[in-house]
Subunit: 359 residues, 4 copies
Amino acid sequence: MAGNTYGKVFKISTFGESHGTAIGVIVDGCPAGLPLDLEAIQHELDRRRPGQSKIVTQRKEADQFELLSGVFEGKTLGTPIAMVIRNKDYRSRDYSHIFDKYRPSHADFTYDQKYGFRDYRGGGRSSARETAARVAAGAIAKQLLAQHNIKITAYVSQVGELALTQAYQNLDFDYIEKTPIRCPDPELAEQMITLIKSIRKAGDTIGGTINAVVQGVPVGLGEPVFDKLHAELGKAMLSINACKGFEYGSGFEGVKMRGSQHNDIFERKNDVISTKTNYSGGIQGGISNGMDIYFRVAFKPVATIIQSQTSVDNQGNSVDIQGKGRHDPCVVPRAVPIVEAMTALVLADFILRRKTDFL
Amino acid sequence: MAGNTYGKVFKISTFGESHGTAIGVIVDGCPAGLPLDLEAIQHELDRRRPGQSKIVTQRKEADQFELLSGVFEGKTLGTPIAMVIRNKDYRSRDYSHIFDKYRPSHADFTYDQKYGFRDYRGGGRSSARETAARVAAGAIAKQLLAQHNIKITAYVSQVGELALTQAYQNLDFDYIEKTPIRCPDPELAEQMITLIKSIRKAGDTIGGTINAVVQGVPVGLGEPVFDKLHAELGKAMLSINACKGFEYGSGFEGVKMRGSQHNDIFERKNDVISTKTNYSGGIQGGISNGMDIYFRVAFKPVATIIQSQTSVDNQGNSVDIQGKGRHDPCVVPRAVPIVEAMTALVLADFILRRKTDFL
Amino acid sequence: MAGNTYGKVFKISTFGESHGTAIGVIVDGCPAGLPLDLEAIQHELDRRRPGQSKIVTQRKEADQFELLSGVFEGKTLGTPIAMVIRNKDYRSRDYSHIFDKYRPSHADFTYDQKYGFRDYRGGGRSSARETAARVAAGAIAKQLLAQHNIKITAYVSQVGELALTQAYQNLDFDYIEKTPIRCPDPELAEQMITLIKSIRKAGDTIGGTINAVVQGVPVGLGEPVFDKLHAELGKAMLSINACKGFEYGSGFEGVKMRGSQHNDIFERKNDVISTKTNYSGGIQGGISNGMDIYFRVAFKPVATIIQSQTSVDNQGNSVDIQGKGRHDPCVVPRAVPIVEAMTALVLADFILRRKTDFL
Amino acid sequence: MAGNTYGKVFKISTFGESHGTAIGVIVDGCPAGLPLDLEAIQHELDRRRPGQSKIVTQRKEADQFELLSGVFEGKTLGTPIAMVIRNKDYRSRDYSHIFDKYRPSHADFTYDQKYGFRDYRGGGRSSARETAARVAAGAIAKQLLAQHNIKITAYVSQVGELALTQAYQNLDFDYIEKTPIRCPDPELAEQMITLIKSIRKAGDTIGGTINAVVQGVPVGLGEPVFDKLHAELGKAMLSINACKGFEYGSGFEGVKMRGSQHNDIFERKNDVISTKTNYSGGIQGGISNGMDIYFRVAFKPVATIIQSQTSVDNQGNSVDIQGKGRHDPCVVPRAVPIVEAMTALVLADFILRRKTDFL
């Protein structure tokens, strides 16, 4: 039983292999009457697309989307919104040398075992190219959330050992898009870029982390006991290619604290109940409490390296594999819009699910 | 739209408030013909129940379950399996003092906001008591997995600053259940127990982490692109009360590595394709690759402390709250069987979903 | 993949075998704050229970339900509502003679084939006893619909050849519950009762139809293109034991009409847009249009007869089967509250689904 | 919460408005390794397309589909299969005269009320054009079923008063596709064609029924208690535009029978257990019993007539409406492949769901 759909009310279903005819997405359950800014969708795709800067893959993919349905006279109809992105620059020959080989830490082996065979061209369905469809859908979710004044900001917080230590409240979010690394600390951003360039020069790759902050979330989003808000955020993040971990609020560091330190004391401020601290990360009992939601996501080093590696082929024979093509030395700069998109999809779904809480 | 069901084929739906008449669970989708060991279910409930040792809450709850349906002549019928656990030792008066107050870092405020009112007795639906239903269901899932020779082991890996640093391969899993803290390192276990006792004496609480290892998993479990095996594991863990983070394989530490170090090289060993290292944590492209699956889960310090705290009531007035009753100073020892249960539920679901991969 | 859950937002999951410990239901997704009249639930169960009149089975089952969760201080909490009905009068020996035999037109054979074995006592899960759980859940749905002034009325419209020909507008709905046959035409009701008595005397059974009318439905319920309002009503009715057909509005007779006769002309009346005729049965394009919804449901003759029949056992050997016990000669009088319950469940689900149509 | 997806394991999601850019479908959950005959898909679309004969609408729509994903080297990958059909011959001006008017017995009014506005061109999403996407998906399901030797045959059984009375066993199924009316009785077929021509000449329309027979179904398909095989077939049929009723096996006529007549006696024949009669329609307890499945579906007269009708506009003003364009005088000939497609989708889903019945 396949798993290509995310969401329960605001639902997306993606399709497409990296080097097939097209990838795309159906957004079903978007409410009617939402004015849709198509350029804003393209803008998000541009933030994710290859070739956008010197520190990402130099593949040339325009990632122009075509809208097929669900919008009329500029507004959503309440019917499924289908979007398609054609695959243009695929250069299938780049992959012919590995059609029977299992690239280390890729999904070649597991897809072959699971399905009996696979589209070996560029990873097929397991390629991160699929995330373009999520970004297009997420751009619609963002427009829905904007109606509720909910704002999502993601940024690179670590590359290798280079980690951003300031709390998000002390960062200049406006700087994020001003640097190709999407880290809001100018000095650290430069160091990260330098590191990535040296890594790429060595034909190697490196991991990193992304932080996200969601502001303006109303109280009441999230559905106990399994579909807790942070549980769905976790699933959504972990479903992104290369993701290895998720923590929110105080996270893994919080386990060292005492309850007397960690508890977020309630207070009334300007007639609104809020908490003095926010170790809860804006979520209590799986439900948003009106404070900022923040979380951190880990991404492993990209598996494709331009170095020779040993492996096996589909007969179990030993083979050498040499990465070719144009790949990302580090996934995090391009993953920022993906993290934002998945966050938007989770929240849009919960905004709609919340509507049925009362009579 | 509520979220009290987990799983798509092997599905559980839990119900019940902490101090209502009963809690319970329906397991739907368990295949027919599974011989069911009811004592093994009770055994798992006993591993989770209060009062089992000196370092957990001293509440007396027997947590005896009653089987209502789905089993005939010792085997599952393929019909829904309903189990109920009556709430006996509830002492409602323990909670009357906080019926209109919002305990810090509890779900009182968010439930009130989400639903308009709440069952304030012992946290109602938000109480960790609900996890007993999960453990009962998970015990059935474990019996299904045993048919496939899949074995799940969880253990406490950290309490406060006290962290277990050995790899799981070097641990004696047999020791886990020999100590009330469920940490397989005898010396560290003693230190953890001493720490928890001192914490409790201070009327305080502390966080911790649990590691889990799944052995014997066949290749092919997990459903791209959203229901990746680790994404569902992450959601399942994050849905447990007090959970703040999830990482698998190399996790957050892995972001510091180079791709050339992190890649798991394939090799053929005894006619089976495996990997030399296992930074992937047994999952590639969201699908199990046959290697051990391992992950780590963070739990915050318990919110109920036996110290006076300021807060607000449902009118926004400042109030003092003094924790009463018998609570856990640290959640991790009793969370071990819960982590195992949720892991079993995830895997049982994927075992069944996998059956539809081929014609 | 099992199918024991109905509904997407207002969801019910039933469990239980006819002669196991208990049957029951979880209602999940009922909005918070609904004042719940427990006596009204018991009243609906009493309308369905055996032994209520001379023309139904004389089995003695009190069908008292116990509420386990989801309600606090008289109102729904927004959490799962669990209800259990214990099985008391099961007389297992009545069924021991058929444990390996396949009763004609029962589900014995298909359950055995599907699941490998079955609970042969009284039909187990395939028994119509399961519908008691639906009726209990439907009674909650009815209370939700009452808040929206939606009223559901079902009645017996045919027994064997005896058919009610008047349009529902000409019937006295108040009479329905005044006769055990639940047919609103007093004279025809008497004939039906006489017919059923003679059928029972002959150890035989007979079929019938039930009509239902839903009044006060707001415009806009139903979800194109698959979850059309009438498609879900049809599925819900067809899921009731012994149901063989469903038609709404003009139904099968309407196929003989011309479009120029069949089209329902719109008009404005008292500032409301309505239709002059209602061949559409209150549904257009799968969405309610504000007119009365009406439909008809066919039920086959009960399969258990008190006559000797030939059959086979589970080895394929020829056997004779003689119906024993106390069975319904005609299912329709007791099916009236079941039809109403399933109708209420469909509408409650769509009322909640409708809430997400707009921003 | 929208309803544009059908199926639980073999799932389809359709999209598209009649006069938007395109319509299409994603098939998710089709097992890997199915050799896919693309011409067979186009063939099914050709059976449904406008302009195929003199008795259907003369609109010129080629309905060529494009495959976007999910197939590699001629076989399904186990990933989502996306297919798109561009809208070419839409002549939007044909509809401009009714943009604010509510055509009688169409979905104009209900869509406007449900979503706040609508794509008024050719019915938009409510147009029967959407069923082309179902037919494309159903053609894949048929190929899956062919692997299991399951064969679906649908045919026109009634147009207006002209009804086919023979049992399906006495019909020559080979004749169905030899006549544009798709009725297997040559003489009656001619009468039906003559009737439809006269109806069209009068600018009117007429209803009809379609019968379907499924042969070769294995025992065990269908999921109690809600997702009974006939309940899902009913829902699937009722979700087709213009459908007003569904009955299977003995159907509405069966209600007149005695149990002693209606019961299907089991016998062993050639070591297979079968039934002497088949009033059950091949389904007992919601599960296929290995006998032929047969059912009947009612379709109302097409709402678009070429006659003047009164109606209201969206302000409630009285207006006259005159049907224009090229419409079907009777829906049933073109609905035959749609009925087959939906039947195939239901069965494909249950074939896969059945795989999880056992350990």
